[in-house]
Symmetry: C2
Subunit: 186 residues, 2 copies
């Protein structure tokens, strides 16, 4: 099972485009649903949707509200339970501050990437590293993935998810689900 | 890695609604993308989208065409490579017939479900069972999951994906990705 106090963060800035330039990306509604459902299934403590754009923050909050306080939540209580995991913040720094404040402890950040990084570790290794009292937050990049500077600034970097060949263009929804299953069940 | 000749099938009929009644479901575009990308990443041989409704078959083919022969494929060759994995059929029987014909061998069917079934086996056990020359097809249900009759008729049934609690309401996109990762990497 997951260690205590594992959070997820879905990053919309700084991420990359296909030319590896740093950009801000637009919200994808289904990301919120799929990753919240995986967070709930595998017992993550919370799920932060991170975007610096106010209109996108408003959109994220409207979606969450529809499924928690609105009609969606009445129709589908399972979806309500999942989307209640979500909070919206303007930056990853704000995520770290909030978690630190909530648990009165340090928080370790974990980057994910489809590219192999020289400092990348396996989920097994990460699970060993996590056996302490700190809280942890795993960051997932939208668009073409987290920006290099962001990855470098994290405490840990997870190895990319690979199959038998070099192709590893999973959706962020698939990648987040697989990492959580590996952390929880393998 | 995956055994040779593992296919995926995304079933839109017969599946269940929230009252466990058998229904046909509508296509969800993002299912095609996410599951095709996972199929490509983990080395599945092919991915069948199964719907008895002709308008839905036409829609599926239009989406695939856009990303393989159309503008989408020029803009994103990785997406093109994934969506080229997809074929559309009217029924699961047609999937089985096609695979049998292609490989001139028997094909074993594998059901997935979020509900525990008395005959369900782990992915580890399935991998052992798959060490023969037959082709295999793993079926995933849309809506609230595969109908009970469909599951009973399959050769194997995979255990549900679970976290530490009873909640296991993953999207079919997440579930397919996790099962493939387990088959390939654990």
């Amino acid at each position: 099972m997951l260690s205590n106090n594992v959070y997820l963060a879905l990053i919309h800035y700084p991420v990359t485009n296909r030319e590896n330039e740093t950009i801000g990306s637009a919200l994808t509604t289904i990301d919120l649903h799929d990753i919240a459902r995986a967070a709930m299934t595998f017992g993550a403590t919370g799920f932060y949707v991170v975007t610096p754009y106010e209109d996108q923050q408003t959109l994220a909050r409207k979606i969450i509200e529809h499924w928690t306080d609105g009609v969606g939540g009445q129709v589908n209580p399972y979806r309500k339970a999942a989307l209640e995991k979500i909070d919206v913040t303007a930056s990853f720094d704000e995520v770290l501050e909030r978690i630190e404040k909530e648990h009165n402890t340090g928080v370790k950040s974990i980057a994910t990437s489809a590219k192999m990084h020289r400092k990348a570790i396996s989920t097994d290794r990460l699970k060993t590293e996590m056996k302490n009292d700190a809280a942890h937050v795993i960051a997932f990049g939208t668009a073409w993935g987290l920006a290099d500077d962001f990855i470098e600034a994290c405490d840990f970097i997870l190895e990319p998810i690979q199959g038998p060949r070099t192709y590893n263009h999973l959706s962020v929804r698939s990648a987040a689900s697989i990492y959580l299953d590996r952390m929880c069940n393998s």
